[in-house]
Structure formats: structure tokens, C-alpha cells
């Protein structure tokens, strides 16, 4: 699953500092995107749908800040975020130049009830949530060292 090649109906993008402080900008971009969507689309997806899409984007961005870079040591690292709407889906593409993502063999469901009885299971829920909240999550590392995350979510028919 790659990026859609069609021209998007809406596109909001920005370069975001890959740090804890930069998460403010991630949420600003999402707010900006939904403002434009509200002015452009005849009908917006319902608030639950929007909440799931926002959660996908924030979880992936948070994953980049914490794992591709060192969240405690901001060195001016950035990530590029594009939020796009097509006729049947929305997608977010996040690109960074940090450390490559190392996939875990286990593909967890986002059932966090397991974490209640075990502190050891308190972390690592971000990508399972992003995967479950969207309709497709793809990661690729380019030969020139770019990490590229793309999450798609189908619009309600």
C-alpha cells in the first residue's frame, strides 16, 4: 500500500519538529486539516471517525519522536507530515530521517486490558492502536535513509 497517486481533494502538510514540543504542531496541523475539510467536503465523517484518524496520526508521530529520534534530546530533527483526503479515503504520510523502525514479530491487538495486571505490558500500544484505528498502515525505509509511514482510513460510504 503506497501513497495514492490521484490528486487529493484536500492536502495539509507541514514540517514538524520531532520532539515532545513538536507534538503541539502535529495537533495544530490536524485542527487545520479538519477546518479545511469542513469548508470543502459536503459531509464530514462523524466525530468517532475523526477521533480514530487523529489517533492514528498522533500515535505514529509520537512513535517517530520517541523511537526514530530521542525525545529527550531535540537536535533540530524534523518530520514531514501530509494529511490528505481523496474521494474514498483519507491518509496521512509521515516522513523522517531518524533511526529505522525495527518491527516486532508480534502483531498485537489494541486490547490494553492486558496491561492492567502487568507493568511490563504498559508500553508498545501506539502502533497497535494506529493499526486498529485505520484501514491500512504501511512502513518503508528508503535507500537514502528516509522512514516513511502511511496510514489510510476509508471514508464511510
Amino acid at each position: 500500500m503506497g501513497t495514492s497517486r490521484l490528486k487529493p481533494l484536500i492536502e495539509t502538510e507541514g514540517e514538524v519538529e520531532a520532539s515532545a514540543v513538536g507534538m503541539d504542531r502535529v495537533h495544530d496541523l490536524l485542527d487545520q486539516y479538519w477546518r479545511v475539510a469542513g469548508q470543502t467536503l459536503p459531509v464530514l465523517p462523524d466525530p468517532t471517525w475523526q477521533a480514530l484518524f487523529n489517533s492514528c496520526v498522533a500515535e505514529i508521530a509520537g512513535n517517530i519522536v520517541r523511537h526514530a529520534y530521542n525525545a529527550d534530546q531535540s537536535k533540530g530533527d524534523t518530520m514531514h507530515i501530509s494529511l490528505r483526503c481523496f474521494h474514498n479515503h483519507m491518509e496521512a504520510v509521515l516522513i523522517d530521517q531518524g533511526a529505522p523502525y525495527v518491527p516486532v514479530s508480534e502483531t498485537r491487538s489494541p486490547d490494553m486490558t492486558k496491561s492492567v495486571d502487568s507493568d511490563a505490558l504498559s508500553q508498545g500500544w501506539g502502533l497497535p492502536i494506529a493499526r486498529a484505528a485505520g484501514d491500512g498502515l504501511h512502513y518503508a525505509r528508503s535507500v537514502d535513509g528516509l522512514n516513511r509511514w502511511c496510514v489510510k482510513k476509508l471514508l464511510p460510504s
Binding site: A58, M112, T113, I129
Partner: protein, 116 residues
């Protein structure tokens, strides 16, 4: 709504308190919230109602902070209940099945009354 998390404790009895949270509860603020739970329980408030009415967004780390607080309260013989969660937090509680672990109340007063 501020993006930094702010927390405050509103005592409602010898061991019952409301924890008001305000802002975004995510990996940037989860440690502060875990610490707030630890301090509340250390001060004797083992029954806690978390007011999420002013929490604009919660992520997996934010949920983990609430689970950590729940564990701390339960170890002291108490509990944590959640009140006034907005659209995005409610959606995430449902997606992660944590709505089966936390008792969710529409209002803070409902949460307080739930203990009685």
C-alpha cells in the same frame, strides 16, 4: 485549552478525591499524571474520580498512565473511575477495551456518587 497537562486534586472525603486533568494527555505528559496518582494515593486518596472533561486528546501513553494510576489505587484498596470523557478519549477507551476496566461516568458527580 492548554496543551500542557494540568492536574489538581479536589478532596471529597477522607479517602475520596476528584483528580481534574486539563490539556492533552499523551506521552509528553503521562509521567506527570502517573506522579499525580502516586501522590494522591500517598496522601490517602485511594478512591479517585478522574475528570477528563477538559482533556482534549489522549494517546496510548496517556491511557497507560491511567492504568498505572488504577493499579496504584487498587494496591491501596481503592479504585479509579473516569468521568466526563469527550469524544476522542471515549473512542480510545472503546478501541482498547479499557471501557471494560474503568467505570466510565457521564459527569463527575455521577462518578462520585458511584462510590457511595
Amino acid at each position: 485549552m492548554p496543551n500542557r497537562i494540568e492536574s489538581s486534586i479536589d478532596a471529597r472525603g477522607s479517602d475520596l478525591a476528584i483528580m481534574h486533568l486539563s490539556g492533552r494527555l499523551d506521552f509528553t505528559s503521562a509521567a506527570e499524571v502517573k506522579q499525580a496518582f502516586a501522590e494522591a494515593v500517598a496522601n490517602g486518596y485511594r478512591r479517585i474520580v478522574v475528570n477528563l472533561g477538559n482533556v482534549s486528546f489522549i494517546d496510548s501513553s496517556g491511557l497507560s498512565a491511567l492504568v498505572s494510576g488504577l493499579r496504584t489505587a487498587r494496591e491501596a484498596g481503592g479504585d479509579v473511575r473516569v468521568a466526563a470523557a469527550g469524544q476522542q478519549p471515549s473512542t480510545l477507551f472503546s478501541l482498547t477495551s479499557l471501557d471494560q476496566v474503568f467505570q466510565l461516568y457521564p459527569t463527575v458527580e455521577d462518578g462520585v456518587n458511584g462510590y457511595e
